[in-house]
C-alpha cells in the first residue's frame, strides 16, 4: 500500500495567530467538532444549524464563531478529519502485510470497520457532501483518489490490468456495499467487516460466482 501516513488531529479553520492557542481552546474546538458531527449525522447537513451544534456542545453561540466561520467550515473540518482517520486506519492495517491478497482484504476490512463505526457520518457525506458545493466534492474526490492510489499497487501485484481505474472501481464498490449493508440489506446472515471484505475482494478479482457462500443470497436483499 502506498497510502500516506497522516497523524494530524484535524484541520484548523482559523489562523492560529488570531488568538493564543491554549489547551482549553483546543478542547473547546474539539467539543464543537464532536457536537457538530453528531448533529450532522442526526439532522443532515442542510437541516443542521449552528444553534443545534452549540446546544449539544453546551457552549454559547459566540464560542462557535471563535473557531469556525460558519456551518460549512465546521463540516469541512470534520470532512478532513474523518478522511485522515480513514486513511490512517487503512495504512496501518495493510502496512506490514506482504501477501497482496491478504493486504487487499485487510485494507477493505479496515474500510468496512470504519464504515461500521461512523456509518451515519459516511452516509451523510456520501449523499449530502457531494451536493453542498464543489469544495466538498473536491475533498471527497481527493479522499477517493488517495484510497484508490493506495490500493492500486496491490491490485497490480495481483495481476489486475489497469490497476488505477480498477482501484477507483474497487473503492466505489466498497462504498456502495457498505451503504447496502447498513441501509438497504434486510435479513440474511450478519456480515462482519471481514466477511464483507472477503466477498468484495473475491467478487472483484474472480467474479460474483466466487463469493463465499456465507454471504447472503441475492433474494435476501431489497436492493
Amino acid at each position: 500500500m502506498s497510502a500516506t501516513l497522516v497523524t494530524d488531529v484535524s484541520v484548523t479553520s482559523r489562523p492560529i495567530t488570531e488568538s493564543p492557542l491554549t489547551e482549553r481552546r483546543w478542547v473547546r474546538r474539539g467539543e464543537l467538532l464532536e457536537a457538530a458531527r453528531r448533529v450532522f449525522e442526526r439532522d443532515g447537513y442542510h437541516a443542521a444549524t449552528v444553534s443545534s451544534i452549540v446546544q449539544l456542545a453546551g457552549l454559547s453561540q459566540g464560542a462557535f464563531y471563535l473557531y469556525f466561520v460558519d456551518k460549512k467550515a465546521v463540516f469541512a473540518a470534520l470532512q478532513e478529519e474523518m478522511a485522515t482517520l480513514l486513511r490512517r486506519r487503512i495504512y496501518w492495517a495493510t502496512r506490514d502485510e506482504s501477501d497482496p491478497a491478504r493486504r487487499l482484504t485487510a485494507g477493505l476490512t479496515a474500510y468496512f470497520e470504519f464504515y461500521d463505526e461512523y456509518r451515519n457520518w459516511m452516509r451523510r457525506l456520501t449523499f449530502e457532501g457531494l451536493g453542498i458545493d464543489e469544495t466538498f466534492e473536491a475533498r471527497q474526490v481527493q479522499l477517493y483518489e488517495t484510497l484508490a492510489g493506495g490500493f492500486a499497487p496491490t491490485l497490480g501485484e495481483l495481476g489486475v490490468r489497469a490497476p488505477a481505474v480498477s482501484a477507483a472501481a474497487l473503492i466505489g464498490m466498497a462504498s456502495q456495499v457498505a451503504y447496502w449493508k447498513h441501509y438497504q440489506s434486510q435479513g440474511g446472515p450478519p456480515m462482519t467487516a471481514t466477511t464483507l471484505a472477503q466477498a468484495c475482494a473475491s467478487l472483484f478479482l474472480h467474479g460474483a460466482a466466487s463469493i463465499p457462500i456465507s454471504s447472503p443470497p441475492e433474494g435476501d436483499t431489497n436492493a
Binding site: L5, V6, T7, D8, V9, V27, E34, E81, Y91, W92
Partner: protein, 104 residues
C-alpha cells in the same frame, strides 16, 4: 498493532520524506506514554526520533501507550481522545498544531 517504535520511526520517515514542510521549524516534542517516553526533534527540515525524555521539550503530548497507538493507527479519533482528556498536550500548543499539519 505495531509497536511504539514503529510508529515513531514512521513519523520520522514521514518528516524526512518532505523536509520542505519542516523548513524553519525548530522544536522538540516529547511523548509521554505508559512507562515510556519518546523524543522527536525537528531542526530545519531534519527530524530525529529517540527513546527517552527530552531535556527541555517545547511541547509534550501525554497519553497511555494504548491510546496513543490507537490514535496513530486511526483506531481512536484524536479529537475525542483530546476532549475526553485521554490525550493531553502541555507546553506550546502552536507547535503541537504545526506538528499535526506537518504529519498530515
Amino acid at each position: 498493532m505495531p509497536e511504539a517504535k514503529e510508529v515513531f520511526s514512521e513519523i520520522e520517515n514521514r518528516i524526512k520524506s518532505k523536509p520542505e514542510k519542516a523548513a524553519g521549524l525548530n522544536a522538540t516534542y516529547q511523548f509521554d506514554l505508559t512507562g515510556e517516553s519518546w523524543t522527536l526533534k525537528i531542526a530545519d527540515g531534519a527530524a530525529t526520533v529517540s527513546p527517552g525524555a527530552a531535556q527541555s521539550p517545547n511541547t509534550t503530548l501525554i497519553a497511555s501507550t494504548d491510546d496513543w497507538m490507537n490514535i496513530a493507527t486511526g483506531k481512536l479519533n484524536p479529537v475525542q481522545a483530546f476532549t475526553q482528556q485521554r490525550l493531553k498536550v502541555k507546553g506550546d500548543m502552536g507547535l503541537a498544531m504545526k506538528l499535526q499539519r506537518l504529519l498530515q
